[in-house]
Amino acid sequence: MKIFLPTPLRPYADKRSVVDVSGSTIAEAMRALISQYPDLKGYIYADDGNVRGFVNIYLNDEDVRYLPAKMNAALRDSDTLTIMPSIAGGR
């Protein structure tokens, strides 16, 4: 399955915009992503292991926080994950 990484995350992932990983749940796919690019960990996760408050993870177009199974939601190969941090530029 594919994980989309927006620009702010790319410096931590070898400048890649899309990463292919395997995993049967969101948590597994995220673990696979982090093991491939360990530098992403500090950006996405807080020290307590939770996803940071300015980062959202979407399964297809659904915010993972509102899925009944949250990070344990099952994945199909055709699913995509998008990691979306807040950005503030505008001037």
Binding site: T7, S17, G42, N56, Y58, D63, S86, G89, G90, R91
Partner: protein, 405 residues
């Protein structure tokens, strides 16, 4: 959404001007009068605010408020199209007002030459129907959101970074047939720690991008005013200019949101600089993301004058440039033997540096180099100093022929 209260009829000149709106049945005279009665506040007359103000003026929005306290800089011109070359050095508000009136003299411009703060936001918002966020930093974005929630006004949101943008309408008040929309805090409960997300000044931005995103904001503003179409409420539009791909994510109202949830804990505007951490507006990437949480406060520094005199005296100083290669091409201290190791590579190329050597680190303005100095000191480099003000200070005070960017 805003029914025209005292809709003065259109003059013959206005009818000519808005002819292509008037013959659109979906807009028509009714829609055009709503636009004329509408009062839109544009926070920021920069990248997003430029196309927004120009198009809203052209479309016939009756009252356009603009909040900005900045002066036009040459580096604004590649994207802030409301400001022209001859405006460099002039207040953005004056420049923007002139262009708006040049486009459409029927528009009433209300100028607020101030920084938007917790003390003035609600007072300024009071006289407007729609608030458009065209700012560039997290504290002001949370402030605008909270002030919109508290005053029951929609927040037409757009933000950009390099080649990407995000847009949505936050805090849209409930209307018949539509529930209150999610707010910015529902989506992003917390700002990034200072230093984690680079600003446009440090990270750069493709000039057309604010045009693209600003016009999405203008479109949504006009839809809110006229009631046309499906507003971008409860949806986050992601714009990727490089892939030219538009994607859409579903947003939900967070029942636990501290300002728009059922158990709200924020009932008035707070200190947003504090909420976002000091220095949240100027930031950049770091060699190691984990190490950016605490910004160094008392790092050893050297002024450009000191560096120049030491280099001229042939003191043994190693100049380390931690910018990116494309920045090095614009200007550099290569004549003084400066070595380029981009900030992101410092960690893995650390063995190229001698911990015994006197090292002066510089970047563009001194933000990135400060992080590298902090990092190297943690690694046991004792004689490492930050060049205060970066190569910009060098260009200002040592070598006036050097280009600035």
């Amino acid at each position: 959404m805003t029914a025209p209260t005292k809709s003065a009829p259109l003059s013959n000149d206005e009818i000519q001007r808005y002819a292509r709106h008037l013959i659109l049945p979906e807009v028509g005279m009714e829609g055009q009068l709503k636009l004329k009665a509408a009062r839109v506040l544009c926070v920021g007359a920069g990248g997003l605010g430029s196309p927004l103000a120009m198009y809203l003026a052209a479309a016939g929005v009756g009252t356009l408020g603009i909040v900005d306290f900045d002066v036009v800089d040459a580096s604004n011109l590649h994207r802030q199209i409301i400001h022209f070359t001859q405006d460099v050095g002039r207040p953005k508000l004056t420049s923007a007002e002139e262009k708006v009136h040049g486009i459409n003299p029927n528009v009433t411009v209300r100028k607020f030459e101030t920084r938007l703060t917790s003390a003035n936001a609600l007072e300024i918002f009071k006289d407007f129907d729609v608030i458009v966020d065209g700012t560039d930093n997290f504290p002001t974005r949370y402030l605008i959101n909270d002030a919109c929630v508290l005053s029951g006004k929609p927040n037409v949101y757009g933000s950009i970074f390099r080649f990407e943008g995000q847009a949505s309408i936050f805090a849209a008040p409930a209307t018949e047939g539509r529930q209150q929309g999610p707010c910015y805090r529902c989506v992003y409960p917390e700002p990034p720690p200072p230093g984690m997300v680079p600003s446009c000044a440090e990270g750069g931005v493709l000039g057309i991008l604010p045009g693209l995103v600003g016009l999405i904001q203008a479109t949504e503003t006009i839809k809110l005013i006229t009631g046309l179409g499906e507003p971008l409420i409860g949806r986050l539009l992601l714009i990727d200019a490089l892939a030219m791909r538009f994607r859409e994510m579903k947003l939900r109202k967070n029942p636990d949101c501290p300002i728009c949830g059922t158990k709200r804990t924020i009932t008035k505007l707070i200190d947003y600089e504090q909420f976002c951490g000091v220095g949240a507006t100027a930031a950049s990437q770091s060699p190691s993301p984990e190490k950016t949480q605490t910004m160094p406060n008392a790092l050893p520094e050297m002024t450009v004058e000191e560096l120049k005199s030491k280099l001229d005296a042939k003191e043994n100083i190693f100049v380390l440039d931690v910018r990116e290669p494309h920045e090095y091409q614009i200007c550099n201290l290569g004549d003084y033997g400066a070595k380029l190791i981009p900030m992101g590579d410092v960690q893995k190329r650390q063995q190229e540096l001698d911990p015994e050597q006197h090292i002066v680190v510089h970047c563009r303005s001194g933000v990135r180099s400060a992080k590298v100095v902090d990092f190297l000191r943690q690694q046991g480099f004792e004689k490492v100093q930050n060049l205060a003000g970066g190569i910009l200070a060098w260009a200002d005070r040592i070598d006036k022929t050097m280009p600035k960017y």
